[in-house]
Symmetry: D2
Subunit: 260 residues, 4 copies
């Protein structure tokens, strides 16, 4: 049987979700998404044209019949803004499955968890299915799940940083206790980062800048497609123990991440 995962009652084979912004053109956007093998694309409702038929629309390049659209609230710094943005998106495209992010102020653009809780509550009450971007905080993550969020999306690293997964212990902690899917969102810079995130046991990875800001976005999309498959397969296969024969009294098995 194929390895697959499910969120909000929908089943997917690809464990890579990609953004639709920051590319040089809509053509490049479409080509990269195609190459990535993603089945879900996330759309910054405030930044991408999905409603004005008099201008080039994302839908013309990335057909919603082929891809599951996941509207997101990039650019929203308050719960109110985030909720309003997703209501407008639902009216425009009927999208009910959404990605919530409420960010703190620049320059850090870290999740504003108080605003996130407030918005999540309002959206769930309004019958949205909320996938939620959040800090790598296992207490907050569990609470968001208990509120009814359908997926937990802790940050790997700061948005747009390409720094990789900063705190693998917390990502793994969040996954260990979760009954809904856990996706690493933000921070992924290159293929080994994506593979590493999957090796922690996550259900999927979401990325955008890693493709859009690569020198060759389509080439990097191919890389990420394979990286996510690789990391998932390695997780399922169960890696060899880490050990160093020179020091048998100091096993290093169980260590997450790299030595040194």
């Amino acid at each position: 049987m194929e390895d697959s995962w499910e969120v909000a009652g929908r089943r997917f084979s690809s464990r890579l979700i990609v953004g639709t912004g920051r590319y040089k053109s809509l053509e490049e956007t479409a080509a990269s998404i195609e190459a990535s093998g993603a089945e879900i694309v996330t759309v910054a409702v405030r930044r991408v044209n999905i409603a004005d038929p008099n201008a080039p629309m994302l839908q013309d390049f990335v057909p919603p019949t082929k891809y599951t659209y996941l509207p997101n609230t990039a650019g929203c710094h308050t719960a109110k803004d985030a909720v309003r943005t997703l209501r407008l998106a639902r009216e425009a495209g009927g999208w009910n499955l959404v990605k919530l992010e409420v960010l703190g102020p620049p320059p850090f653009l870290y999740p504003d968890m108080a605003g996130t809780f407030e918005a999540a509550a309002a959206l769930i009450a309004d019958n949205f299915e909320v996938m939620v971007y959040c800090a790598d905080d296992p207490v907050a993550a569990k609470r968001l799940e208990e509120m009814g969020c359908v997926a937990i999306m802790p940050l790997g690293g700061p948005i747009g940083s390409g720094l990789g997964v900063a705190n693998p212990y917390m990502i793994r902690a969040i996954k260990q206790q979760a009954k809904v899917p856990v996706l690493v969102d933000a921070g992924i810079g290159t293929a080994s980062d994506a593979a590493f995130a999957m090796e922690l046991g996550c259900d999927a990875v979401l990325l955008n800048s890693a493709l859009a800001h690569a020198q060759d976005p389509v080439g990097m999309a191919v890389a990420m497609k394979h990286a996510v498959i690789a990391g998932r397969a390695a997780y399922l296969a169960g890696r060899m123990p880490r050990n160093y024969e020179a020091n048998p009294s100091s096993p290093t098995s169980g260590l997450i991440g790299r030595a040194g």
Copy 2:
């Protein structure tokens, strides 16, 4: 055009070379190699039966017509032993392209570089095509190339450790100056390690324990196949710059490896 690489005049598509030892059975060996997509397999001449037709032979499970056999000198701790071992292998199977390793004493099993130079000289004089396992030492690497070695194979980490690439700066240094292929050999533990090694620009990765000692060797072989493709594609695509907006005066681009 397909991405491929060449060693000693032979061209390969797969950038993953796998060992043939440490598996539970020859059936598992064969299945793992098949799943890995490898075109070259390395054979510990002293440990695997490749010459006695009265016992199960590797060739019956891993056909030399399908895979390029790369005899190696695992278990040899002197130049003399290594040279003798490869001469016997050449007599047995006609193999001329070989992997030389001369290891220091346990428990560290680090390459004995003096012995390695001595054996490389003798083998090259005897018309072998020598792929050489070595320390992550760019001076030694260059000298081995100038002697006529056809590929340089610096260690990522200690043999059998699964600790990943300890010193990415040196691996990259070795690659930057090399005119022959550079392969990371030893230390790879899981998929993200293999992807990371390829992202450094290496031509290929060699591993054995990472498959044989995984809980599911065949599953890990699939993981590694994709990991190497992913890392290579990411290297070619040119990753996004690392940056952290909170600290624009301190670019982190160029950094190898992970933050923290």
Copy 3:
């Protein structure tokens, strides 16, 4: 002029704060604290006897005339419990400067930020001076400061883990925006961890298990004393740029943490 720091109007020379629990005996507690050079000690009100004169009391070994006592709420998992605990402590010893921690459930023992906000508000309203243990979340940290907390104490790593500073980018982000002192609290395992935390610009470091669970707590106290001085001095001195001559086009300056 001496380097010093100030919290809630009190000035200290030592940048090391140590706990008083988990030692084998009160004698060992006292000796370790003495060796550490700490001027502030933190006391788990629920776990250490500071009120019953019929049993050995911490005050008999660690004189409050010599050390600033900082009562903490270790073991409290709700805001209500934390507030009550600190009120009892204030009644017992008159302590107004306190360390608030509200932890989520085992096994993760991560800060419960919602409970932390609730307790901080109640304590500040009740005229406590609150030093607050929190997630490495710059949005939450700023909000706690704006509420009136007198020091922000983000976790370096999980409590009792000895894993070091997991996410130096976030610790530095929190420090960059703070107008009150920032202390790394939890996760420090050995001297280099403490030095590293101080090199990020933090005002002080708090630790407990690193001393109490070392093989020689007094020896480790000496180590930590010097480590904090070293890290502070290095931060003030301004470290050399990271660079690797082999790759002049890829400066690694600005990178936090170690290579590889």
Copy 4:
């Protein structure tokens, strides 16, 4: 009893050895060395004036009566050059205890181990006491010790890089098997790097750029003095085990370096 170490029959309290070059002035050199607490200073014979009384001489600022001078062969790329340089130094100042380094070509400036062995043999035959800079290669390190070198000085990272200790496993391996002192030489960038090197069990640390290229060399010298004391004390005290309660089946104790 004081903690001290011995090389070639001489006993020292300070475990920090510092260079004398790359400073802005000889005054700054002297002030930094004084602040560092070093008892041994290493002198690049080819770069620092130690013989011409008509120009400012190092000895006028850093008195050889107070500090043990350790002439080194910086700038020598062949065994012959290194041997000649140290013979000239011995004639000039009577120095018999020396630091040998034979470097490969730019840009990597990695130790040329073949040249190092050749020079070490010649120097030992000529009654020098040779402290030897080398690769982090335990086989070569053992052989240098067996030849008669009085101290082994593996590189932490590339010379002048400030990248820290790249491969702690190999440094520890070298130390574990050595009967002569092991010093980490090169790569140290800041205080936590020096503490970390000492936590691996090394006998001492040698650095130069970390002071000379800091914004405030004297301040950094103070930092390094404390860092080395801290790392040594932590090593002797025996650090707490690394562990993460969330994952009791995966102990991380024994891991060298930081998580993630």
